[in-house]
């Protein structure tokens, strides 16, 4: 799991960046929104007998940050990520319509503090804090569970201005839940807007 993470880190490092001193003291509030497909790797079987380590999903994220005219910007991040879905035969339950399958889904909602650094077009940041993990099990009944677990979200993006306040570009987002053994990679498109400057 850590080797995969380091590989992703190296990939983030390849994105071009120019070191620029932030000598301007313009403060701003910025918001970013992104949507992406998600590929997740699970270190442990998702259920007893599961053999597939990968699962596929989708998600969207929003960040609001305060840039105090210096190197580091601070903000909060949230969103919604559909991480995994599995169907199991619900043996031996059989109703009038035939065998009943049981299905399970796993989603995650980040509620994190987000710290980033930016130079011109390139931005990299780190979200730290809890994810609200939620599961739903359905067969002849529905069970729902949820739990807060700590995670890290690594974000790297490269944006181009499309107007005086809007920028758009590709973003790579990596979710790392070490305790649960989940690594999710989210290549996405991000839209950034400067909401307020002073």
């Amino acid at each position: 799991m850590n080797r995969a993470l380091l590989t992703i880190v190296a990939m983030l490092a390849i994105t071009p960046a120019m070191a620029q001193d932030t000598t301007d003291l313009v403060y701003s509030i910025e918001a970013s929104a992104s949507v992406s497909p998600i590929v997740s790797m699970f270190q442990e079987p998702r259920y007893p007998g599961a053999t597939d380590e990968l699962s596929y999903g989708y998600g969207g994220f929003v960040q609001v940050q305060w840039r105090p005219g210096r190197l580091v910007a601070f903000g909060i991040m949230t969103g919604w990520a559909f991480l995994a879905h599995d169907e199991l035969p619900s043996n031996p339950t059989i109703d009038d319509e035939g065998p009943v399958t049981a299905s399970a889904t796993l989603t995650a909602i980040p509620l994190q503090v987000f710290v980033s650094m930016r130079s011109e077009h390139f931005k990299a940041g780190l979200g730290m804090g809890p994810y609200l993990m939620m599961s739903q099990l359905e067969s002849d009944d529905v069970s729902k569970g949820s739990r807060f677990e700590l995670g890290l979200t690594f974000v790297s993006s490269y944006v181009f201005p499309i107007s005086s306040t809007l920028k758009i570009g590709p973003e790579l987002r990596v979710l790392y839940l070490d305790y649960r053994g989940i690594l999710s990679i989210m290549p996405s498109v991000v839209l950034t807007s400067t909401l307020y400057e002073y």
Binding site: N2, A19, D21, R70, V72
Partner: protein
């Protein structure tokens, strides 16, 4: 291995950053740039330490309030002090630090001595439980100064001279004459809002008996990993 990669990356970066004009006005705590005699740097902050799951059985980011002070004694020497507390556990240590700088790179070597004290008394749960330790903490600090910020790495170890716990009058010795912790701290310090300075960083440590968990009476004989995130603002 991550720690080694971390340190090597930092050294490579320090060696490769292009030179720009220096700014000698900023004074930071972690960066060991020599302080002018009589100058004092004080900062307050907060840290969150992720305690080892084998001890606390869950992900607990334990907070602590921190106060750090550095006072310039002479061109090459300063006196440093640190107070970290979350009421149940308090760590206080300090000592002289030798500082030198070559252009933008600075190096500091210090030897802190201090102590730890913990106390809790809750009816029906903990009856006058306390613990203390006397420690020595040698440190090596390496810093690099740019115009916009300073980056520094600190390598430290804590040596426990003596420690003891007490439970309602019963006493038992703790770790003694042994290295208990190894730390690597990475700090980024920069001017922040108006004239204040901000320190932001991560500390990675391996501890045989993490002091924050003293009232769990840990018996696992193994070094466990504790990451800590911290931030501080200069006063």
């Amino acid at each position: 291995m991550a720690l080694l990669a971390f340190v090597l990356s930092f050294l490579v970066i320090v060696a490769n950053v292009s030179a720009v004009t220096s700014d000698s006005v900023q004074r930071y705590y972690y960066e060991p740039f020599p302080l002018k005699p009589g100058m004092t740097v004080m900062q307050v902050g907060l840290s969150f330490t992720l305690l080892p799951v084998p001890l606390v059985e869950n992900e607990y980011p334990t907070p602590a309030a921190e106060f750090q002070i550095k006072h310039g004694l002479s061109e090459m020497w300063s006196l440093n002090g640190v107070l970290s507390t979350n009421i149940f556990s308090t760590l206080l240590h300090g000592g002289p630090q030798w500082n030198t700088a070559i252009d933008r790179t600075s190096i500091g070597i210090c030897g802190h001595v201090g102590g730890f004290y913990g106390f809790i008394s809750t009816e029906g749960q903990f009856d006058n439980n306390s613990a203390y330790a006397v420690v020595g903490i040698p440190m090596l600090r390496i810093g690099y100064r740019l115009d916009a910020f300073a980056l520094s790495t600190t390598f430290a170890a804590s040596y426990v001279f003596v420690s003891e716990s007490s439970v309602s009058g019963l006493e038992a010795p703790g770790p003694m004459h042994t290295f208990n912790d190894l730390f690597c701290t990475i700090a980024l310090e920069q001017p922040f809002l108006r004239k204040s300075q901000l320190a932001l960083g991560i500390s990675l440590s391996y501890a045989r008996t993490p002091y924050q968990t003293w009232l769990l009476y840990n018996t696992i004989d193994q070094y466990l990993f504790l990451p800590e995130f911290f931030f501080a603002v200069q006063l």
